[in-house]
Symmetry: C2
Subunit: 393 residues, 2 copies
């Protein structure tokens, strides 16, 4: 019971925490095979390298690293991040367009804080990442799902919704989307940037998975086609170096960056400088590209193993076939309920995330998200065998 | 100019960033003597020790440190923090009462997010820490100053304001307050906890400076007298280990902690695990107490040097005489304007913070805040000589 006279804010009405993070707490059972998280493989986390980089950074620039830093970021990191972005992308980036984030998650919070009022409309993919949906809901945004197919959001439907709802933003994960793993088609990217300019809304392009590509060719970010400042690009080192370090960034119009920096002053003042310094050395020493090349084959094998297992599932089971990322999205025959199956699966030592939580309007009880990156091939084989049995009507 | 159709949120009307952080940008002039920040001395930042601890943590528990962590904190850190708090304080702390924060700054943001609605009243000391005032304003809180004397807020005035305004919270820095350096008297602490229980408001006790005591006896936190869950205690390792690591914590009623953890999911998901791990080892190896003992004499000398210089200032200059912390607050004769003097001082190579920004209602143009911790004794001597000349009418 809350202390006398204390009440929670209206913005937290109905907010009960991310379903995924609640599921994590169920997973402490030993030997649980978890397809539930969005975690990189432990094998892919370069802790020995980071140990040496952390030590080196603290010995060589330790006073600056341990002292208060600028909200706008640790200068060496800004420098190497800028060089990295310029080598990766065709869109222009100046220092004034960059803001380091404590994970790209923080970007959504800051954009909501600085740009939205309660009751504004945000267009989202359906399904989409539930953690960020929760943040949008805390800011009392009206979430409107945009219809999509296997190549991402449908442009005609998007434009109709824009005309109808006058949204503040479109929140979109264009590459290896969470939870579906699907990628927005190349020929839908420029039109979305143009639409944002024409109608005056922001595109928040959340792109943490793009480097985890196991097949096919990389596509330019939507931001590439932005000539008016309507696209905010968010990247992260969580999936390719370490999520525990909480280092991401935003590339945006200068005034948006300035306002988000003011919001960040009150959020965490600045991202921990030590983790910025480790990522700086990682980039500066050109360790990132070889590290990614080293981890891709293992992830590719796991994805393929899970897809091969799904091929043997009963007729009527549909699933996405991603070219990268961490997730496969499964649609079971309509008579099956993934929430009920989740309980049974956990009893048998396998976990996943029921899909309903990823849909802005709920429903879709016959869907689920599978993560393959954080299991061994053997666990994938064993776990998928159990799920196949459970999913057989 | 903002992109077409994009507007900032109403909550950011009139929010222009912390005056202190703006001042920081002026300080890049070489040889500037800065009494402006709230920075620990670089000498007090244990970067060599942290270099070894960081390396060791990443070699021994690196997979867990680099992987996603729980919003509720890195388990070894929670364990050593709990032991630390139990050894320091008489109030009971259970794991469910603890939430690690990315600096105690984040605590204000999370408490506002989860507990306040726009238009709520927050009682604050006058003057008080301007960074947190900005956060309260972003959450559209009505700030009401509580009259105080050299021993902190006046109880009768506080109770009258509570009856009159029905506040949601009292935000208070009871020990070596920012910006005044003054400490809430021992006999005012229990009555504040009792008042919170009686009237049903929260006391947010922000206590980052308490370990920096150069004279006198430590006083129990207000939280010591809390038997109803109305006091939220916030501590930080920023002033005694490193602000750049961004590690603080909240001790609060279990349900408040749970709700703040949900808010933190959308803020930064969790505090960087590596910095939690470094603080964990710092506490676990009993390095904190000797480190504090080692840094206190230097800080004491600096405080005394600044106070000695102030004794030679023209008659009519008043100032606080803190027993600890980082700041002295100066009140000049009414005819002087600290904002104008700031410009002249910066031209002569000395910086401070004009006091007006610390007052919820502005005014007090003849006041200023001086920081002594981040200057050498020689810089204090030189800088104070310049200020004495400037402050002479």
């Amino acid at each position: 019971m809350l202390p006398k006279g204390v009440t929670f804010s209206e913005r937290f009405n109905g907010i009960n925490g991310s379903a995924i993070r609640a599921i994590f707490k169920v997973l402490n059972k030993p030997n649980m095979i978890s397809f539930a998280g969005g975690n990189p493989s432990n094998d892919a986390l370069p802790n020995d390298v980071c140990a040496e980089l952390a030590r080196e950074a603290l010995l060589s620039d330790g006073k600056r690293i341990l002292q208060y830093g600028a909200t706008e970021g640790y200068p060496p990191f800004l420098e190497s991040l800028l060089a990295h972005l310029r080598s990766q992308f065709a869109f222009p980036v100046e220092p004034a367009n960059l803001l380091p984030l404590s994970g790209s998650t923080q970007g959504i919070d800051l954009l909501c804080k600085t740009l939205t009022n309660p009751g504004d409309t945000i267009l989202v993919e359906s399904p989409t990442f539930l953690g960020n949906m929760q943040t949008l809901r805390v800011y009392q945004q009206k979430l409107v799902p945009v219809p999509s197919d296997e190549n991402g959001v449908l442009l005609d439907a998007l434009e109709a919704l824009v005309q109808q709802t006058h949204p503040k933003m479109l929140y979109i994960i264009p590459t290896f989307q969470n939870p579906t793993g699907r990628t927005l088609a190349a020929d839908r990217r420029e039109p979305i940037a143009k639409m944002a300019e024409k109608y005056g809304f922001l595109v928040v392009e959340d792109d943490p998975y793009r480097d985890l590509r196991y097949a096919g060719q990389a596509l330019p970010p939507i931001k590439t086609y932005d000539h008016s400042g309507h696209v905010v690009y968010m990247g992260s080192f969580s999936k390719v170096i370490s999520p525990g370090m909480r280092v991401g960034y935003m590339v945006a119009h200068e005034e948006i960056v300035q306002k988000c920096a003011i919001g960040k002053q009150g959020s965490d003042l600045h991202t921990a400088t030590l983790t910025q310094a480790i990522v700086d050395l990682y980039l500066r020493r050109n360790l990132l590209a070889p590290h990614i090349q080293a981890i891709l084959p293992g992830y590719r094998d796991k994805l393929n193993a899970m897809l091969a297992a799904l091929e043997t599932f009963p007729a009527g089971t549909q699933y996405t076939r991603p070219e990268g990322g961490l997730f496969i999205f499964v649609t079971l025959p309509e008579s099956l309920n993934a929430g009920e199956l989740f309980q049974k699966a956990v009893e048998r030592g396998v976990a996943f995330v029921p899909g309903t939580s990823f849909f802005p309007d709920g429903g879709h009880e016959n869907t689920l998200r599978l993560n393959f990156s954080n299991s061994t091939l053997e666990q994938i084989h064993t776990g998928m065998t159990i799920l196949r049995e459970l999913f057989t009507i």
